[in-house]
């Protein structure tokens, strides 16, 4: 580790890792680089709680988050050491850059992930800035990890520098049992000044024929992955489970081009590699893997050079914009000539990557404006609610479509708000919004307010269309994803503030008036369930079953009564014609009947 002003640099070496597998002479790629599920490993789950707990993502074909075995083992070993824990304490609150070359980069990435996990869980409100820069590192995790990182909005914290000729970053696209472990280990150890003196280590030089074979193998497999990616169907995926995440800087002697989404990264990893291969470049594998020092030194020079497009490109881009010219420059910098067969694909993906480039904070600002424009819809629904407060409550009015004109308006507002928030979540999933978006009070509160006001209407709609009979209960089967997320945000927010103000806040703000909105968004779904239960209890003849049903109803009755007594419900719940008020009446009748029945037994 080293310090520079406010920034701490922590560098990792892959040497220990290499040595650990260099000893057993026969190590196959399938063992060393096998993906290990984070959730399955106790230490792993402790180090990366969010990632281990992440639910299987539909987009990742239901996989769990898994990372490369070798890197995980080394990291966990390191993590257990007191030195590392001390280091973590020292760097708390400072800007940190984790870095490493080759296998060391993979460990650095795990360390950065660990640091991000623990600092986002701790109570400090603004996590300190973290950057992880890897040089020529092998892939670390599967598609699920890539998605999880996107969801946590950590993609921007990772930067992977890859040289055009380097095989290592592209190695894990191959099927794992085909990975020649000794080559990697050999290249790793070569960097170590004392490697020649080390006994029992395998040959250090890779023979030319083997080099060529390895290149072909890698090119073939990266190509497969790149092709498969264009097919949207996740079922058709085969081969290696590993996928890139974070930003990729693709270096060539001409400069560097950057892409920031994983699809584009795969495509560019293939295109750059294939381009140099067709050019007939024959740099040795070792040289390609150890050239990063030179590349980094050259980078500032490249920036200073005044760039000119090749004559052909100039002609081609005459009619086009500066934007196209910029893409052409990026192509050149990544080492793909305009004559290469991969040029068109590379061009497309560079464009795709640049287009998605509106910064998250800019998106967020735009979203605030849109929130402002959509808020009147919410106000309108509040008016709608108020107009039924004295009568049957807005839940029942909406369910029965009372006053069709009012219903119509309210329904449109409900749908518009739903679309708005779904749009927000889509942006969030695509990491187009700032990483701490779901912790910003403004958004958490707006989402909560929306949820408390509108979810009852969604529940009403669900029951009006009898979906609870065809699909199952609302809470388990009918809830929109947005509501579950907003619940989570709200709970997390409570957890944050809970540490500072403590439990006193609960007692201090005991309500003197009924809440503006019922604080349990699913309250009405529970009322509906209670109605169903009551009806089935009324028809029940079996004593044991009846007792069970009554028990469940009693539980609900107690829950609802407490909610009402603590004034956590809005006035509409207690409206004279509301289904809750009517249920209470029904429940009393049922109890009387039950008492009469039991009395008659004795």
């Amino acid at each position: 580790g080293g310090g520079d002003g406010g920034t701490v640099y922590v560098a990792f070496s892959g040497l220990q890792a290499a040595l650990s597998v260099a000893r057993p002479a026969v190590a196959s790629g399938a063992d060393v680089f096998a993906p290990v599920g984070l959730g399955g490993d106790a230490a792993g789950a402790r180090a990366f709680p969010q990632l281990a707990a992440a639910e299987p993502d539909a987009a990742a074909a239901g996989e769990r988050v898994a990372v490369q075995a070798l890197a995980l083992r080394c990291f966990l070993k390191l993590c257990g050491s007191p030195e590392f824990q001390m280091l973590l304490n020292q760097i708390r609150g400072k800007a940190v850059v984790f870095t490493g070359h080759s296998l060391g980069g993979a460990i650095a990435a795990l360390a950065a992930l660990h640091y991000l996990c623990i600092s986002s869980l701790s109570s400090s409100c603004s996590p300190s800035p973290v950057l992880c820069v890897t040089f020529g590192s092998p892939l670390l995790g599967n598609e699920a990890l890539s998605r999880a990182i996107l969801r946590e909005r950590w993609g921007g914290n990772f930067c992977n520098v890859v040289s055009q000729h380097d095989v290592v970053p592209r190695l894990l696209f191959c099927p794992l049992d085909a990975v020649p472990v000794h080559v990697i280990i050999g290249m790793q150890l070569q960097q170590w000044p004392g490697h020649t003196h080390h006994t029992g280590v395998m040959t250090t030089r890779v023979v030319d024929a083997e080099q060529e074979g390895l290149r072909q193998l890698i090119q073939a497999h990266v190509r497969t992955v790149a092709m498969e990616q264009k097919l949207v169907d996740p079922e058709s995926r085969g081969g290696s489970p590993y996928r890139p995440f974070g930003a990729y800087v693709l270096c060539s002697p001409e400069g560097a081009a950057c892409v920031d989404n994983s699809t584009a990264a795969v495509q560019m990893l293939y295109a750059t590699f294939a381009a140099c291969y067709t050019r007939g470049d024959t740099t040795s594998l070792e040289a390609a893997h150890s050239c990063y020092g030179d590349l980094v030194l050259k980078m500032p020079q490249n920036l200073l050079l005044k760039r000119h497009l090749h004559a052909m490109d100039v002609l081609a881009s005459m009619s086009n914009s500066n934007y196209d010219a910029g893409i052409s420059l990026a192509m050149e910098a990544s080492g793909i000539g305009s004559e290469a067969t991969e040029a068109t694909t590379a061009r497309y993906w560079l464009k795709a990557s640049k287009r998605a480039g509106r910064s998250p904070s800019l998106n967020c600002a735009g979203l605030s404006t849109r929130l402002g424009r959509i808020t009147p819809c919410r106000a309108q629904i509040e008016w709608y609610k108020a107009s039924f407060d004295a009568d049957m409550g807005y839940y029942d009015a909406f369910k029965q479509q009372r006053s069709p004109k009012k219903f119509g308006k309210a329904n449109i507002y409900r749908l518009k708000l739903g679309q708005f928030w779904d749009g927000v979540l889509t942006m969030l999933d695509n990491s187009q919004l700032p990483h701490d978006f779901h912790r910003r009070a403004k958004w958490v509160n707006a989402a909560r307010f929306y949820q408390l006001l509108v979810e009852p209407l969604d529940i009403a709609d669900y029951h009006r269309n009898n979906l609870h009979k065809t699909r199952g209960g609302y809470i388990t089967h009918g809830r929109d994803r947005r509501y579950e997320l907003f619940d989570k945000w709200w709970k997390e927010k409570g957890a944050f503030s809970g540490t500072s103000t403590g439990d006193t806040s609960v007692t201090a703000t005991a309500r003197s008036k009924y809440a503006g909105l019922t604080q349990d968004p699913c309250f009405w779904a529970r009322v509906e369930e209670a109605w169903d239960q009551t009806e089935s209890a009324q028809a029940e003849h079996d004593v044991a079953m009846l007792a069970m049903k009554l028990g469940r109803l009693r539980e609900f009755e107690r829950y609802a009564r407490e909610l009402v007594e603590s004034k956590e419900v809005s006035i509409d719940v207690l409206a004279p014609q509301s289904s809750y008020t009517r249920w209470v009446e029904e429940w009393k009748k049922l109890l009387l009947r039950d008492e009469a029945r039991t009395a008659s037994l004795f």
């Binding site: 309108q380 069709p404 004109k405 119509g408 329904n411 449109i412 518009k416």
Partner: protein, 605 residues
């Protein structure tokens, strides 16, 4: 009239003049000019040099001229000075949109103000005197509904009257009758100016307004339609009359109708008008001068449980009314008696119940052109005695509101002349479910079909596509409507297609693109519509598209650039971007970004 003016700005140079109807304009002009210029003018007004009038008095600062009680545009044109720094404030019962740049509508009086105006007319003091029955006074004043004129006239007519007369006045007012001849004549005298100066047709149109129930919004569509039928007007003329009455404050347009209803393609059923009770009473009174059987409009002024007794008394003779308006609660077979309406062209049945027995005299109304059934109850009503419909061969338009439509049997007798059907807040499911009837046989000439707020409508019966005479289809606020009939493109006469505020609609049938005559397409607020049919560009006659709040619509069909007649697109900011390409190709295209507006009118039923 009381004004609070900032005297400081005009530095006491404020000149007040009451104009009134029969004013001598020459004198007023002269007087004002003398005051403004502080000069005595010798000779006639028109001898003043033009330049003096144009430049105004020198170095005197701003001037305010207040003209009270102005009655016509021509008067006003004469009296407005146009030199710089001169402002004119006009107080009038009419609006002068062409000359006056800003109009401030005076509200009707509030309860307290109304009472003090009333008291000063009735007792010569501003509050209720100790000796009077405070409650009764308040009730009578309340009947005037804040209209200053009525307060004054009625107050004055009750001056020094015994309590018995007050009580009868209250009762008569609440029944919509005039309290005494003097009240009637005075009110008429004062109002006459507004009404009598109307031209013949406009006056008749004003009187028609009395046929609608008090305190209810009158659907603009119904009103315009009735005017068109019985006064032989075409739509623009009817609309012009509407605007004239509105400018003279004889009716009020609600729901922003003023700005929007004038649009060429706007649908009128979204808008409505209201009329002040006193004006309605006036209309009723004026059209009730003839004897019952001779009246042109036979109207029940208030809702009653049964038909009026004097109708029954006169039922042996035919009624010559052109418009018949009946306002009741529930009606059973026994509540009706036979009447004969040989000349009736419009029948308005207002009621509030869940079952309604149709009067059998409908069958004898050979000239009936428009039938309006409006249910003001909370739930939709089922109709009984449907056989009354069978002989309505002349019926041209039908408006049903909050009615459960009966199933249409195969043998339904065709309504040969029916042009227009409007179903508002109706329940249609029973009627449409499993309906195999050929609608084109039942409604061979139907040209306008409007379905609004029918929440249970899931789809239109496919046989709608066989009614080849259809020119306009309007489906709105049907929240369960998911699709339009597949063969909609068969309607080769269709020029207007409105499908708005149907949030469940997710696509338009591709055959829409073969509607060669389509001029107007409204898909606003179809918030789940994801794309438009690919061949939209074939609609070469399409002039206007309204696509506000179609938030799911992220792209336009490539062919949309070939909509060569398209002149106007109304949409949101996001969707406006989609039209950018087409805008460059279609020469006259104007893309208008609509402002979202929110109001609380929808909360009032």
């Amino acid at each position: 009239n009381t004004f609070v003016l900032n005297q400081g700005y005009f530095n006491n140079r404020v000149f007040f003049e009451t104009v009134s109807q029969s004013a001598n304009l020459e004198t007023i002009k002269m007087k004002l000019w003398e005051q403004i210029s502080s000069n005595i003018v010798l000779g006639a007004y028109n001898q003043i040099p033009e330049w003096q009038l144009k430049l105004g008095p020198r170095d005197r600062g701003p001037v305010l001229v207040i003209l009270d009680d102005v009655w016509s545009l021509s008067q006003l044109e004469e009296l407005v000075f146009k030199f710089p720094g001169c402002k004119t404030l006009v107080v009038s019962r009419l609006k002068f949109p062409t000359l006056v740049s800003r109009t401030y509508e005076m509200k009707l009086l509030g309860e307290e103000e109304a009472l003090s105006v009333f008291c000063s007319a009735a007792f010569g003091q501003e509050s209720v005197p100790q000796t009077a029955d405070k409650k009764l006074v308040k009730q009578v004043a309340a009947e005037c509904r804040g209209l200053p004129l009525a307060l004054k006239v009625i107050g004055a007519s009750l001056r020094d009257q015994p309590p018995m007369i007050w009580l009868s006045a209250k009762n008569r007012l609440s029944r919509g009758e005039s309290i005494s001849d003097s009240h009637e004549t005075k009110l008429l005298e004062r109002m006459a100016a507004s009404v009598e100066c109307l031209s013949g047709k406009v006056r008749e149109c004003f009187l028609d307004l009395g046929c609608f129930p008090e305190d209810k919004k009158i659907p603009l569509d119904v009103l315009i339609n009735i005017w068109m039928e019985i006064h032989d007007l075409d739509k623009p003329d009817a609309f012009a009359i509407l605007m004239e009455l509105s400018n003279k404050n004889l009716l009020t347009l609600v729901n922003d109708a003023q700005n929007k209803a004038g649009d060429l393609y706007s649908n009128y059923h979204d808008y409505s008008v209201t009329q002040h009770d006193v004006l309605r009473d006036l209309a009723l009174h004026m059209s009730g001068r003839d004897s019952l059987n001779k009246r042109r409009r036979l109207v029940m002024p208030r809702r009653e449980e049964s038909l009026p007794r004097d109708w029954q008394r006169n039922k042996d003779l035919p009624f010559e009314a052109q418009i018949v308006s009946i306002h009741t609660g529930e009606m059973k077979e026994s509540d009706w008696f036979q009447m004969s309406f040989p000349k009736a062209e419009v029948l308005i049945l207002n009621f509030a119940s869940s079952v309604y027995y149709l009067p059998s005299f409908i069958a004898t109304m050979q000239n009936l052109k428009a039938l309006v059934l409006i249910n003001y109850g909370t739930t939709s009503a089922t109709l009984d005695n449907l056989s009354a419909f069978t002989t309505l061969s002349d019926l041209r338009s039908l408006w049903l509101e909050k009615i459960t439509l009966p199933p249409l049997p195969k043998s339904t007798i065709p309504l040969k002349n029916l042009r227009k059907i409007s179903l508002v807040l109706c329940e249609l499911n029973n009627s449409l479910r499993g309906s195999t009837m050929d609608l084109s046989m039942t409604f061979p000439r139907l040209s306008n079909l409007t379905i609004d707020h029918c929440v249970d409508l899931k789809e239109l019966p496919p046989s709608v596509c066989e009614i080849s005479s259809l020119e306009s289809i309007s489906l709105s606020n049907c929240h369960d409507l998911t699709e339009l009939p597949y063969e909609l493109g068969k309607l080769h006469c269709l020029s207007i297609l409105r499908v708005y505020a149907c949030p469940a609609l997710w696509k338009l049938p591709p055959s829409v693109c073969s509607l060669k005559r389509l001029k107007y397409l409204d898909i606003s607020q179809c918030i789940n519509l994801t794309d438009l049919p690919e061949e939209l560009g074939h609609l070469t006659n399409l002039e206007k598209i309204d696509m506000r709040e179609c938030s799911r619509l992220r792209s336009l069909p490539r062919s949309s650039s070939s909509l060569k007649s398209l002149g106007h697109v109304v949409c949101d900011e996001e969707t406006a971007m989609l039209w950018r390409e087409a805008e460059q190709v279609i020469p006259d295209l104007r893309v208008q970004v609509a402002e979202e507006c929110y109001n609380l009118d929808w909360l009032v039923d």
